[in-house]
């Protein structure tokens, strides 16, 4: 049978592939914030050479939900909430004008807890601490890098800090020193810098973000995930998350690695040594260090499980030993484990929590508690 060329597979299928390719490419130029799993993902797409986020980014979503519900593909667990995620001109999560305020009294560095994942701008630790203490706190936290002396110095220099406080939020999940500052930007930046110096960094951010993120893929993944809910297909993502029932019969989700860390025996010397070193280095720049020791969610809710899990193997939990070591080394530290555990227990019957049930991070209530603990210690240090 003689067919018109357009009806032949040798024409139709290559055309379909080309159309799909161009659809994919075209969609990459369309803002994809709605497809991001949260503000962090949206701001990270066009991140900068040094790992900081896309500058001057404003993300608002009235219906975000927690990353554990996302990772585990668990729609029943979702707690919908509004989230605003704003970055300043330097690519950190702060209100736009904060970097221009003088003086800045403190810089906050740490994990995703300090970055404020799962929470809106006004509820982040730096925002609540600023409001509580009446002093500006600059949030220089990035999830991808727990700490970096070079970064802290760079931020302090930008903020023209001649003296001040570095609040280092150290979360139990991590080992120190971790995420060493390699100092080497992505190869794209290095290549383009050979051609045009740092002036082409923005081009590379854009290129990388455009190449790495495919909205078509994100859409298809979401569609496919809706089939993977143990009806049509099994939910293979469920193993990314551990679910436990609390005493009030509600379900709480955790990261599997938090349970692993909970049951590990860990030595505190390395962390103490590192933080003492960091304190000494910061002193050179007239910056004081205050370490905030933060338990992960499983530590806080382990005592409140309906069916108790085994106890941790250590007689004295890791963070308490780090706290003791730091105080002995003359490094100020505030361990928020006890306040969070006590508050979590007293809130449980009322159906209130200090962490999001569908996320690995604390909620505004938990952040407020931590902020007040930090403020108390900060006030003492200031005397």
């Amino acid at each position: 049978m003689h067919l018109e060329p357009s009806w032949r597979l040798g024409f139709a299928l290559p055309l379909l592939i080309i159309l799909t390719f161009f659809t994919d490419v075209t969609l990459r130029f369309v803002p994809a914030d709605r497809l991001a799993s949260g503000g962090w993902s949206a701001a990270r797409r066009f991140r900068q050479a040094d790992g900081s986020l896309q500058p001057n980014k404003r993300y608002v979503n009235e219906r975000t939900y927690g990353e554990l519900a996302f990772l585990g593909n668990l729609p029943a667990l979702r707690q919908y909430r509004r989230q605003a995620f704003t970055t300043d001109a330097f690519g950190y999560r702060n209100a736009p004008g904060l970097a221009q305020e003088r003086p800045i009294d403190a810089i906050l560095v740490g994990s995703s807890m300090s970055t404020g994942l799962g929470n809106s701008d006004e509820h982040t630790l730096s925002a609540q601490l600023s409001a509580l203490a009446g002093r500006p706190v600059y949030n220089a936290s990035l999830i991808t890098e727990l700490h970096s002396l070079a970064r802290i110095r760079q931020v302090a220099q930008r903020l023209e800090m001649r003296r001040g406080l570095v609040i280092f939020e150290y979360m139990e999940r991590f080992d120190l020193p971790e995420a060493q500052d390699t100092g080497r930007p992505h190869i794209c930046f290095r290549v383009l810098r050979l051609a045009g110096g740092t002036g082409l960094d923005g081009v590379c951010s854009w290129l990388r973000g455009t190449i790495d993120v495919s909205p078509l893929r994100l859409l298809a993944e979401r569609a496919y995930k809706t089939l993977q809910r143990d009806v049509v297909f099994p939910n293979v993502h469920a193993s990314n998350v551990v679910q436990r029932r609390l005493r009030n019969a509600e379900t709480m989700a955790f990261f599997p690695q938090d349970l692993e860390k909970f049951y590990q025996s860990r030595a505190e010397e390395r962390a103490v040594e590192y933080l003492a070193w960091l304190a000494a280095e910061l002193q050179i720049d007239n910056l004081d260090l205050l370490v905030v020791l933060v338990p992960h969610k499983y530590t806080v809710y382990h005592p409140l499980l309906q069916e108790p899990d085994p106890p941790r193997p250590e007689a004295i939990p890791y963070l308490y030993r780090v706290e003791t070591g730091l105080l002995a080394a003359g490094v100020p530290a505030v361990n928020v484990s006890d306040p969070l555990i006590k508050q979590a227990a007293s809130d449980l019957e009322r159906g209130e929590y200090v962490y999001w049930r569908d996320d690995g991070h604390w909620n505004p209530r938990g952040i407020a508690l931590v902020a007040s603990e930090i403020r108390r210690t900060w006030d003492e240090l200031s005397r």
Binding site: L9, L13, D24, A220, E221, A223, L227, Q228, R229
Partner: protein
């Protein structure tokens, strides 16, 4: 890089295709196909490109030696034996060293010997079983004078590294594509264009829409197989039976389609194996390229059908055990091969009775026997295989695979395609507008699934 990946469809195939057809001479096209084959292979692990090049060079030189020493029997024998030994040593080292060591350790443990040999950190180069068979078949066929070895290194290297068959077959013998390679500069681009895309699309649908759908349900279930009920185990093994077929057949079909796009006819590798009416018929239909290689290069030299019955049974058993081991360095593959050797021997002994039974009965019985064999093939350990077989044939309560609705929809379609409908090679591929549209829609669905579910490797890549 997989055929069912966006990198392949967007990034590899278009430039490979367009540049190939812009080149005019044979050698240019050989070089291009060789280069693209190595690029394709390097996506897996670039370090092993050198190994493939080494194997290619050894076999090419053997062929040149056989050409040169046409009447010198001693040298011809050297040209036969040395490269085969080298190829088998390389294959043996990468594929079977740790198997041998762990088997030895098990024996020491049984004998209460405290010493254990440490396992080596060996990475199995992908496709080594396939391209080794390519080179060995070339040497043997050259020695037997079935083919005249080529003087053109790039023609030979193109044959070995042709990306369409490189990592998971079919095992193509040089003589099967020699004619197409010889006239590669005279082939017209559009002569097999539609046919190529038809095969490519069919293979993609087999893999993405059928095999991967089944895998999405049974793979998580088999990870926790001890929680499955008898019905659950049967459902999973039935699912695996079709998954393996459509996965492998899909790959082979896509390989054929890709060959057609470049004017090369890759031979058929599956001929509706689940329509087989006896074990021997099954092996004439399943992985035809491998079974014919085993027949020509192992079974017949061992004696084949000649000699006393016990010798024939022995030949069958040895051939199938080696065929099983070819699939992987694991006792389960060895047992699977032995199982099929036993089936072939039993069939041979009882064919007078078997062949008189109604066709529907022999087909069903053959299928059931094959399903049981796939238990050994799928199980990761002997213990797992034994547990599954026990669960299949003695009642146990437990769970069904989660998310079974997808399976309930796909399995009947898979069964219809496998048992009743013509296979891809039996179709005329002369599609009208409605069929082209339907194929286009299904192909588009494949693309969306590939976007949504990520890359899904072919099962035979592990061999």
């Amino acid at each position: 890089m997989l055929f069912n990946s966006l990198t392949f469809l967007f990034g590899f195939l278009p430039p490979t295709y367009f540049i190939f057809w812009r080149l005019k001479t044979k050698t240019q096209r050989y070089i291009w196909l060789t280069l693209t084959g190595y690029v394709f292979y390097s996506f897996w692990d670039y370090r092993f490109c050198a190994l493939m090049l080494f194997s290619t060079a050894v076999s090419y030189l053997a062929g040149r030696g056989l050409l040169r020493w046409d009447t010198d029997q001693r040298r011809r024998r050297l040209c036969l034996v040395v490269p085969i030994v080298i190829d088998l040593l390389v294959l043996g080292f990468f594929k079977y060293t740790n198997f041998a060591l762990s088997t030895a350790n098990s024996i020491w443990a049984l004998l209460d010997v405290p010493w254990r040999a440490p396992l080596l950190p060996i990475v199995l180069p992908i496709g080594i079983s396939f391209y080794t068979f390519h080179t060995i078949s070339y040497i043997i066929d050259s020695y037997r004078r079935t083919i005249i070895p080529t003087r053109n290194f790039f023609e030979f290297s193109c044959y070995v590294s042709l990306f369409s068959q490189l990592v998971a077959g079919p095992i193509v013998r040089f003589r099967q594509i020699e004619e197409d390679l010889e006239k590669i500069d005279r082939t017209h681009r559009t002569s097999t264009l539609d046919l190529g895309w038809s095969f490519l699309a069919m293979g993609m649908m087999e893999k993405v829409l059928i095999a991967d759908t089944i895998a999405a349900v049974i793979d998580p279930a088999l990870k926790n197989y001890q929680q499955l009920s008898t019905a659950g185990v049967w459902l999973c093994m039935l699912g695996y039976t079709y998954q393996l077929y459509f996965d492998f057949s899909g790959y082979s079909t896509m390989a054929v389609g890709l060959g057609y796009l470049f004017g090369i006819r890759i031979p058929q590798n599956f001929n509706s194996p689940y329509k087989a009416i006896n074990p021997s018929d099954f092996w004439r239909r399943w992985h035809i390229s491998l079974s014919s290689c085993l027949r020509d290069y192992l079974y017949i030299p061992l004696g084949g059908n000649r000699g006393a019955p016990w010798m024939v049974y022995r030949n069958l058993l040895v051939t199938m055990v080696i065929g099983g081991l070819w699939h992987g360095a694991n006792w389960t593959f060895l047992m699977w091969g032995a199982y099929h050797g036993l089936l072939l021997a039993l069939y041979r002994a009882t064919s007078g009775f078997w062949d008189r039974l109604p066709a529907w009965l022999t087909q069903a019985a053959t299928f059931l026997l094959v399903v049981v064999g796939w238990v050994l093939f799928r199980a990761e350990t002997v213990e797992m295989a034994w547990w599954l077989l026990q669960a299949m044939f003695s009642w146990r309560s437990g769970a069904a695979p989660a998310g079974s609705y997808g399976l309930v929809v796909v399995l009947p379609i898979a069964a219809l395609l496998a048992h009743r409908l013509p296979n891809v090679f039996e179709l005329r591929h002369n599609w009208g507008p409605a069929a082209v549209m339907a194929i286009g829609v299904l192909f588009g669905l494949c693309l969306l699934v590939m976007y949504g579910s990520g890359e899904s490797p072919f099962l035979y890549f592990q061999f």
